[in-house]
Amino acid sequence: MTLIPSYRSRPSALHAARARVGAGFCCAFALVGALYRNPLILGAALAGILLAGFAAGVGREVGRSLRLAVPFALLVALVNALVYQQGETLLVRGDEFLGRRWDVTLEATVEGLMNGMRIVVLIAALGGLMSAAVDPDQLLKALRRISYRSALTASLATRLVPVLARDAARMGDAARCRPHPPGRLAVVRAALAGALDRAVDVAAALEVRGYSLAGRPARRRRPASRHDLRVGLAALAIAGIAIGAAVAGVGHVEAYPTLDVAAGPAELAVASALVLLGGAPLLGRAARLGVAHA
């Protein structure tokens, strides 16, 4: 079980929307994580992502990505609390070490937690929701018109990573089967050689599929589905609200010297909108129409 989920086709509006639109929806939530430190807004974004995840049938996958994100976020919080000495509310008075005092302040700790939350939102949006609900082939196909070979290489990488992971697991099992298990370096070297063999095989397969003649693929026009429109509008709304509110100074946070976290009506409105927009395009009868493959 990997913490970063892989895409599986499911009957949901997010899966049914075209890949660019689905990716835009996830990136809009990631934008909130990039623009804000306000815990109320970040918490709402996370709630919106989780709601979208459950509505799209990938709630467990998004939850799994949080298992990767939360320890990382706590590490950021810990480092921030130890490294930054600003803030007036002393929590722990530390000793002198390496020529400096190691005090821990409430402000530095909260600042660290807020930065950690940003990381959680980014990982949940991109590593969780997008990985599980947006078809990477379709997404990279859209990019192939811009840079064909780079996008195809990225497609191959996404395809081969699990194959190579399985190879490595197999080699690990083989090493355990030897009466005298070999050194880790020897196994790593053999695994690397195996990966190169795989790469040569894939290169041969691409050659016989006409890769050397490849040009820019033709544009494919498809009528926009209801899910393209609904998810796309939600993505635009989330991005618009995030940018507009940030420009307007909503969600203001000042950590030092004392904590000042804005939590007024404007922040509550933005937070409510984020939660609603996470679920709105993916819930209700309209979101269930035409989502399964025939």
């Binding site: 395809r159 090493a175 089967c177 020897a186 095989d201 006409g210 033709a218």
Partner: protein, 529 residues
């Protein structure tokens, strides 16, 4: 007379220095459109090299030196690379995992057409039609990493055929598949050949699978064409010149002194009926399992025992359900069952790579386990570093201690890996092999059977290969749904089955499993007649 699709005139090829040994010598042949051709030959005879030359990978991808003429669809392979030749021929290799390059099935089928700059409506139509024709319409929205080996191989064929080439080249496409998937694939090729008129060239070790569909068999020996003939003539040639290239049915007729060379089970049955040679439906008493001949008091302690073993996957199925199995020292057991029946899981539990969720595993000593890919065990630069000089000698590789294991043939790697896992301080109590004969020719299978026959340990081979099981095992254990559904001598388990039976058993109605046994039964009958 149609223009030949493939035309070779004294075509020769040598790999660059340090590459694989197989090369081609003065190949001359012509293949007409719409023909079904089987390439036969032992490992290293040049089958794969010839296929790679036909699709242009040789010499453009692999390098090396080519001479003579080889034209495919009018294109000289020395002047036109694989990209240009791809318009004429589709190519499918042995390993399904690495020839499916995209994450989704639909994207995989679209890729070759995108390479050619086809407009979107043409791409959509070609993908739809190809998928429906090849019976993979239901897989179009699946991710490729969720497909079985047989499904992956079908997708690879669809991707090779989606642009409508006249020629389809396949390099041992069934070697990584179970028998059912392998048979389905051959039927699919037959349909492509008959319905679409696609010329098919397939390299295959298990000739009995392909010969009924073939128009022609080209046998290669050390890179040269040794025989180029229709299936029955090929079998007549093989019986005299190269018995390892004969099917079990043909070997049976040859050993029984019958002049016909049947290319299919149906022909073999008809051949036997034609001369009124009905083999008696009896089982030789010596074939009964040795363990049943031993009195309970005299039976040695088990080398390996599984007692009430369950293996249940979290959020998944129960792979094994209360399985009981005892293996005695020196016993030769073939473990059979369809994919997912629990064979590999059982072996892993026996070795201790995984633990049962209930029940226990008792081992009288070390357990040696050789998993499916022998290359995983060979991680050093020199064979001697992996197996020691004693192991290299036991693998029959004396004088090649310094050889890089990657330069060894598949069969040699298998033998060397077996010595690696058996190379402990004490001889193992049990030796377990998981699908060791995949992609092996008959000569290598015989060598493997001979190696394990001299071991004192209990030997368990998980296999789909009924011919190998019949020749090697004293006991066949059949798994289904995580429980033992058959356990007995090969003659009991493999004779009457529809799926788990040998070709000779199907020909003789279960009277015998192997050509030698059947010939022995037929000979007296003929005398009586």
């Amino acid at each position: 007379m149609p223009e030949p699709l493939v035309q070779a005139e004294r075509f020769s090829y040598a790999y660059p220095e340090g590459g694989p040994a197989a090369s081609l010598h003065e190949i001359s042949l012509e293949l007409e459109p719409g023909t079904f051709t089987v390439l036969a030959g032992v490992s290293g005879s040049g089958k794969s090299t010839l296929l790679r030359a036909l699709c242009g990978l040789v010499p453009h991808f692999h390098g090396g030196v080519a001479s003579g003429v080889l034209r495919v669809g009018g294109l000289d392979v020395r002047e036109h690379g694989p990209g240009e030749l791809a318009a004429v021929c589709g190519t499918v290799f042995q390993e399904p995992e690495t020839q499916v390059v995209m994450g989704g099935v639909r994207a995989e089928l679209e890729l070759p057409l995108e390479h050619r700059g086809e407009p979107a409506p043409a791409v959509a139509r070609a993908v739809e039609e190809t998928a429906l024709s090849l019976g993979i319409g239901h897989l179009l929205e699946r991710r490729t990493d969720t497909l079985s080996g047989g499904e992956l191989q079908r997708v690879a064929i669809a991707a090779a055929m989606v642009h409508g080439p006249e020629l389809l080249l396949l390099d041992e496409p069934t070697s990584q598949l179970d028998p059912v998937a392998g048979d389905e694939l051959v039927w699919l090729l037959r349909r492509l050949n008959e319905d679409w008129g696609t010329a098919v060239v397939v390299a295959e070790h298990r000739l009995e699978r392909c010969l009924p569909a073939a128009d022609r068999v080209i046998s290669l020996v050390e890179g040269r064409i040794a025989c180029d003939a229709p299936p029955r003539e090929h079998l007549a040639w093989a019986a005299e010149a190269m018995p390892v290239l004969a099917t079990p049915g043909a070997r049976l007729f040859s050993l029984a002194g019958l002049s016909e060379r049947p290319a299919s089970v149906k022909e073999a049955r008809a051949g036997l009926r034609g001369v009124h040679l009905e083999a008696p439906p009896t089982v030789a008493p010596d074939d009964r399992p040795r363990r049943r001949l031993l009195r309970r008091d005299n039976r040695p302690e088990p080398a390996l025992a599984l007692r009430g073993v369950w293996f249940e996957i979290e959020d998944g199925p129960s792979v094994l359900r209360g399985l009981d199995l005892e293996l005695r020292p020196g016993e030769r057991v073939a473990l059979m069952g369809r994919n997912g029946a629990g064979k590999s899981t059982l072996l892993r539990l026996a070795k201790g790579l995984i633990e049962p969720t209930r029940g226990r595993v008792e081992r009288a000593g070390e357990v040696a386990l050789l998993l499916q890919n022998p290359g995983d065990y060979l991680i050093h630069e020199h064979a001697v570093d992996d197996a020691g000089s004693r192991g290299v000698a036991a693998a029959g590789l004396e004088g090649r201690e310094q050889a890089n294991p990657r330069d060894l043939s598949g069969g040699e790697r298998q033998r060397l890996a077996l010595e690696v896992v058996m190379g402990g301080d004490q001889p193992p109590a049990a030796v377990l092999l998981d699908e060791p004969t995949r992609g092996m020719d008959r000569a290598h299978k015989d060598a493997l059977a001979a190696r394990v026959a001299v071991l004192d340990a209990a030997v368990v081979v998980a296999t789909h290969d009924t011919e190998f099981a019949a020749s090697f095992a004293q006991r066949v254990v059949l798994l289904g749904q995580g429980v033992v559904i058959g356990d007995g001598a090969p003659a009991e388990v493999l004779a009457g089955g529809r799926h788990f039976s040998t070709e000779v058993a199907r020909v003789t109605g279960g009277a015998a499993l192997l050509p030698e046994q059947a010939a022995a039964l037929i000979e007296p009958a003929r005398v009586v007649r």
